[in-house]
Amino acid sequence: MQPAIELRGVTKRFLTPSGGVYTALRELDMTIGVGEFCAVVGPTGCGKSTTLALISGLEPASEGEVDVFNNPVKGIPDGIGYMFQADAVFPWKTVLENVAAGPRYHGLSSRDARDRARDWIARVGLAGFEDRYPYQLSGGMRKRVALAQSLINEPRILLMDEPFSALDVQTRSLMENELLGLWAASSASVVFVTHDLEEAISLSDRVFVITAGPGTVKSNYKVDLPRPRNVAEIRFQPHFIEIYEEIWKDLKDEVLVSYERQKRGAA
C-alpha cells in the first residue's frame, strides 16, 4: 500500500512555562496508507493530539521526519482536514457560512461556496438549519457542522482528535456510522485519535497503541472486521471481542503506568 503519512523517528519537545523541557513524543514511527482508517489509542497525556498537530503542520517536529504524500511537512500540507477535540466552529458565522468558509478560503466565489455548503449541510443531516448560529445548536449538531466544514474541502487526509468524546452514547454511535458512510464515499486516509478502544476498533482498519508519555508506538493491530459496519452492533461479534482483548492487554499496562504517575504527581 502507498503511504499517505509517514512519521520516522519523530520526537517532539515543548518548553514548559517554568522553563523546563517536556518531551511529548519520543522516536515515534508510524505509517498510514492511502485510504486507510487508522485509530490511535493511548493513555491520557501520551501525545496523541501532538501526533496530529505534527501531521497537520501546526507544530514542527523537534527531531525526525514527517512526510505527507512523500513530501516533508513544512506548514500546512494541501488536502488536510482536521476536526478538533474542542468546538472550533466559528461562533459568529451561521451554519451555512461556517461550512462555506473552506471553499471560500480556497478562492471559490461566495455564491458557489454557499451552493456547495448547502449540499454538505444536507449530507450531514442539518438541512433547514443553515441560518442558525452555533450557540443555537446542540453539541451533536455542532459536531456535524465541524464534520461538514472539514469534509467540504474534500481532504485526502482527515485528522480527528476525539471528535465525539463530548457526545452522549446514542448520538455518538449515530455520528460514527455517518462518518463511516461519508468516509467510504471518499478515498481519504483518516487518523482518528481516541482514548476509547471500542470506538477505535469499530471504526478503523488499524489501531496504533501509544505508550504512556513520552509517547511512542508500542504496537499496531490490523482490524479485519468486514465493512460496511454498524458501529452500534459490531461490538457484539465474537471476533470484535477477540481483537479487543488482544489490544487491551497491550493498552492496559500503559494506562496503569500513566495512572500511577498521575497519582504520584498528585500526592
Binding site: 482536521y82 478560503y105 452555533p134
Partner: protein, 299 residues
C-alpha cells in the same frame, strides 16, 4: 395513533397558552414598576433640590441655608434657562447650533479615535515584535492625563473644530486600543488553527477570525469611549472656542450663572443617553451571534 397524538397535543396547548400569557403579564407589570420607580427617583431628587432652595435664605446670617441658589441654582431656574435657550437662543447663537457643533466634535473624535484604536490594537495584537517595541511608549502615553494635550492642540490646530476632534480622538483612542489589543490576544487558538487548516490566508485570518472575535471587546469599549469623546470635545471647547456646549458652560461660569452651567450639563447628559442607545443598537446588530443573556440588566 395519530388521533391519540393529536388529542394529547390539544390538551397540552391550553396550559401553555396560559403560561405565555402569564409571563407576558408579569413582564409588563415589572416594566411598569421600574418606570414608576425611576420617575419617583427623579421627583425625590429634583423636588428635594427645589424645596431645599425654596426654604433657604442664604443672604442674611442666622437664617436656614440648605441649598444656596446662587451657587447651586434650582430645577425651576434650570428649566427656565433651557426654555429661554430654546425659544430665544443663547448669547452664542441658536441653541441647536451649539448642540450640533459639540455633536460634530464628539462624533468626529469618536470615529477617528475608534478607527485608529482598532487599527493599532489589531496590528500590535497580531505582531509580537511591534507590541514589544511599542509597549512601553504606549503605557507611558496612557499614563499622562491626556486632556492636557487639548491645550497643545488648541495652540497647534487653532480654535476651530480640528482641535476638539483631536482632543476627543486621543481620549477615545487609548480605551479602544487597549480593548482591541486584548481582544486580539484572547482569540481562541483553536479557532485560528481551524481557520488555517481550512485554508485561510493571513488577511482572511485577520478579517474573519481575529476581528470578529475581538469585536465584543471593542464594542464594549465603545460605551465608555463615547462618554470620553464628549469629555474631549467639551474640554477642547474650554481651551478656546467660539461655539458649542462647552463654550456655553464656560461663558455661564464666567457670569456666575449656575443655572446656565446646569442647563449645559443637562443637554450633555441628553446627548450621552441618545448615543448610548445608538451604540447598544449597534452592538445588538454586530454581535447577533452571541447567546442572549437570560438575566439581562442594562445600565
Amino acid at each position: 395513533m395519530s388521533i391519540e397524538a393529536g388529542g394529547r397535543e390539544k390538551a397540552e396547548t391550553r396550559p401553555l397558552v396560559d403560561l405565555v400569557a402569564r409571563r407576558r403579564r408579569e413582564h409588563g407589570q415589572r416594566r411598569l414598576k421600574v418606570q414608576g420607580l425611576r420617575l419617583l427617583v427623579a421627583v425625590v431628587v429634583l423636588g428635594g433640590w427645589q424645596l431645599g432652595a425654596q426654604v433657604s435664605d442664604c443672604n442674611s446670617t442666622g437664617h436656614l441655608c440648605v441649598v444656596d441658589k446662587f451657587f447651586w441654582s434650582q430645577p425651576s431656574d434650570i428649566a427656565q434657562k433651557l426654555w429661554t435657550w430654546l425659544t430665544q437662543g443663547t448669547d452664542l447663537g441658536p441653541i441647536w447650533d451649539q448642540v450640533l457643533v459639540t455633536m460634530e466634535e464628539t462624533v468626529g473624535g469618536f470615529i477617528v479615535g475608534s478607527i485608529l484604536g482598532v487599527i493599532f490594537g489589531v496590528a500590535l495584537g497580531r505582531s509580537r515584535l511591534l507590541a514589544d517595541v511599542m509597549g512601553p511608549y504606549i503605557k507611558a502615553a496612557n499614563a499622562i492625563p491626556r486632556v492636557v494635550v487639548g491645550a497643545l492642540f488648541a495652540i497647534s490646530l487653532g480654535l476651530d473644530i480640528k482641535a476638539k476632534i483631536a482632543t476627543a480622538a486621543i481620549l477615545v483612542f487609548f480605551v479602544v486600543f487597549f480593548n482591541a489589543f486584548q481582544g486580539v490576544r484572547e482569540v481562541d487558538r483553536n479557532l485560528v488553527a481551524n481557520a488555517r487548516i481550512l485554508g485561510a490566508h493571513d488577511r482572511q485570518l485577520t478579517t474573519e477570525i481575529i476581528i470578529p472575535s475581538a469585536l465584543s471587546w471593542i464594542i464594549a469599549s465603545l460605551h465608555t469611549s463615547f462618554g470620553l469623546a464628549l469629555v474631549g470635545a467639551v474640554v477642547g471647547e474650554l481651551f478656546g472656542a467660539t461655539q458649542g456646549l462647552g463654550e456655553l458652560i464656560y461663558a455661564a461660569k464666567n457670569n456666575f450663572d449656575a443655572a446656565g452651567v446646569f442647563a449645559g450639563m443637562a443637554l450633555l447628559a441628553a446627548i450621552a443617553l441618545v448615543a448610548e442607545a445608538l451604540i447598544t443598537a449597534l452592538e445588538d446588530r454586530l454581535i447577533r451571534w452571541r447567546p442572549p443573556v437570560t438575566t439581562e440588566t442594562r445600565i
